[in-house]
Amino acid sequence: MTVETFSGAERILEPSAGALLRRRVFGHAGFMIGAAIILAILAAALLAPWLAPHDPYAQDLTRRLVPPVWDAKGSWLDPLGTDQLGRDYLSRLLFGARISLLIGFSAALISGLIGTGLGLCAGYFGGRVDMVASFVVTTRLAMPVVLVALAVVALAGGSLHIVVAVLGLLLWDRFAVVTRAATHQVRQLDYVAAARATGCSTARIILAEILPNIMNALIVIATIEMANAILLDAALSFLGLGVQPPLPDWGLMVAEGKEYMFFSPWVIAIPGLALFTLVLAINLVGDGLRDLAAPENRN
């Protein structure tokens, strides 16, 4: 009795697991900076209709290529200036955040489902299944992604859905490779053998026992692929074969501003910086999650 009370008191003095986790998360500068930037961009995207000073599609040909407010010729009317058609740049930037986030998130989701499924099967069943899966991954890696994506989007039409689908169907290789390796490791563990011994079905073992244990790795890969999809979408739009005007896609804004970049460098500098910031933030969060999930950093 006394012993139990004692150990109980001891436990109160120790910080709880949640508090430890919180301390580790908040102590990781890269993760915190990245997360703060992502939250800010997410808020900007969600609140775009209220934050944007103008309609992002409204043209005003009398006010073309007005410089941003910090320039001598700029004004608070268009804080980040206007583009070649006189559309307010800040408004376009805010609405553009929606496109980048949507594409990054959906493409990572699709590729995650494909890659994880393939990797789980390859890692769990091994043998011939593994051989086929690794052949599929090798084949996918041999295809020049940008060229194939460009050609397919050009033929199928550059709508948002098509771009998301094409990117999602192309970027699953890393998911598959990592899931395969992780599954291969986890399936040898005792608790998987125990689950098999108690008669769990294969589907249950894979989904309920293995999948939760490789989730950390999957989330890290998801951030990498999200960043990849955003960059690739921007490149497609930049080449004029991704989503089409007048959508305020950041890559498209760089492409449209290219002609004017020598006299008005900010028309390409601003959307490019936005892309860079978003991708950097996603990568920082991904790196942070990997550090936080690594067993040697616990406690």
Partner: protein
């Protein structure tokens, strides 16, 4: 070793065949090629005429077999747009893309190797931090945007380098940087990790105990072993550079294979696109094959297990 090499070669051939089938089907199935060729203002009868003329009315597998038979004989078809043999068009553009790819690789290695070695020698020093910052920033830069920024700075403001064309080696400096920086972080990390592992090993301690001078140890003993994984990855990375050069080539108007691919996509010139996909895939497959064989040659555990 021979059995391993033959097995790898067979796999590579199978991958090449599969890539050709998939890319052929993708390009035929993702839209109506005849419509794209005839243009938006064509009548239904025009579209049908185009379909017949180019044999696009036949079943997909018939079209593929016809194409594959020619391809095996080195005939990659005829451009819809220029009415020229595709193989000759690609061959004429390849030197530009190869120069770009190789110089991008050289740039990445020239920056990454010294930084990686210094970072490994002094972990957590300012060099190590600089290397880390460079790789974090590098992986977030959109390549086309970075290229445009280089153009504004070095081409327009400083006027050091030409902003387009292939007139001299100077024309390749900016494109090589814009293409190569993306591969830099990988090399840097590999070099750093490899060097740290080797430097902690027994034979380096022995070399030190023998009284060899630090630079001799570093170059003769450590680097030689630490560099092995870098060489293999460099081969694969070159494949990626060649495949990814399309964006950079179109920014700098370098008339290489990637630029041709981009133009051909815009013109619905699909025999050319198809052939370029195949050629780039073949480069990647051959380079990975070489990397695999090199790895197996240097590390017997791979070819046995």
């Amino acid at each position: 070793m021979l059995a391993f090499a033959l097995k790898r070669l067979a796999l590579a051939l199978l991958v090449a065949l599969t890539v050709s089938i998939i890319s052929f089907s993708l390009l035929r199935l993702s839209g109506d090629l005849a419509q794209a060729l005839a243009g938006p203002s064509a009548t239904a009868a025009d579209v049908e005429a185009v379909r017949k003329a180019y044999g696009l009315d036949q079943p997909l597998w018939v079209q593929y077999l016809a194409w594959a038979r020619q391809a095996l004989h080195g005939d990659l078809g005829t451009s819809f747009f220029f009415k020229e043999p595709v193989a000759a068009m690609i061959a004429a553009r390849l030197p530009v893309t190869m120069t770009l790819g190789v110089s991008a690789l050289l740039f990445a290695l020239l920056v990454a190797l010294p930084l990686g070695i210094l970072a490994a020698l002094k972990p957590n020093s300012w060099v190590d931090r600089l290397a880390l910052t460079l790789s974090v920033v590098g992986q977030a830069l959109p390549s086309f945007w970075f290229a445009l920024m280089l153009m504004i700075l070095f081409g327009l403001k400083l006027r050091w380098l030409p902003i387009s064309g292939t007139a001299s080696w100077k024309s390749f400096v900016m494109p090589a940087i814009a293409l190569g920086y993306y591969g830099m972080p990988t090399f840097m990390r590999l070099t750093r990790a490899g060097m740290m592992e080797v430097l902690a090993s027994d034979y380096i301690r022995t070399a030190r105990a023998k009284g060899l001078r630090a630079p001799a140890i570093l170059l003769k003993h450590a680097l030689r072993n630490a560099i092995v994984p870098v060489v293999a990855v460099a081969a694969v990375q070159l494949g990626f550079f060649l495949g990814g050069s399309i964006v950079i080539e179109s920014v700098f108007a370098l008339h290489g294979v990637g630029y041709l691919g981009w133009e051909s996509i815009s013109r619905a010139d699909f025999p050319v696109v198809q052939a370029i996909v195949l050629v780039l895939a073949l480069f990647y497959i051959v380079l990975t094959l070489l990397a695999d064989l090199l790895n197996a040659f240097l590390d017997p555990r791979i070819r046995v297990g």
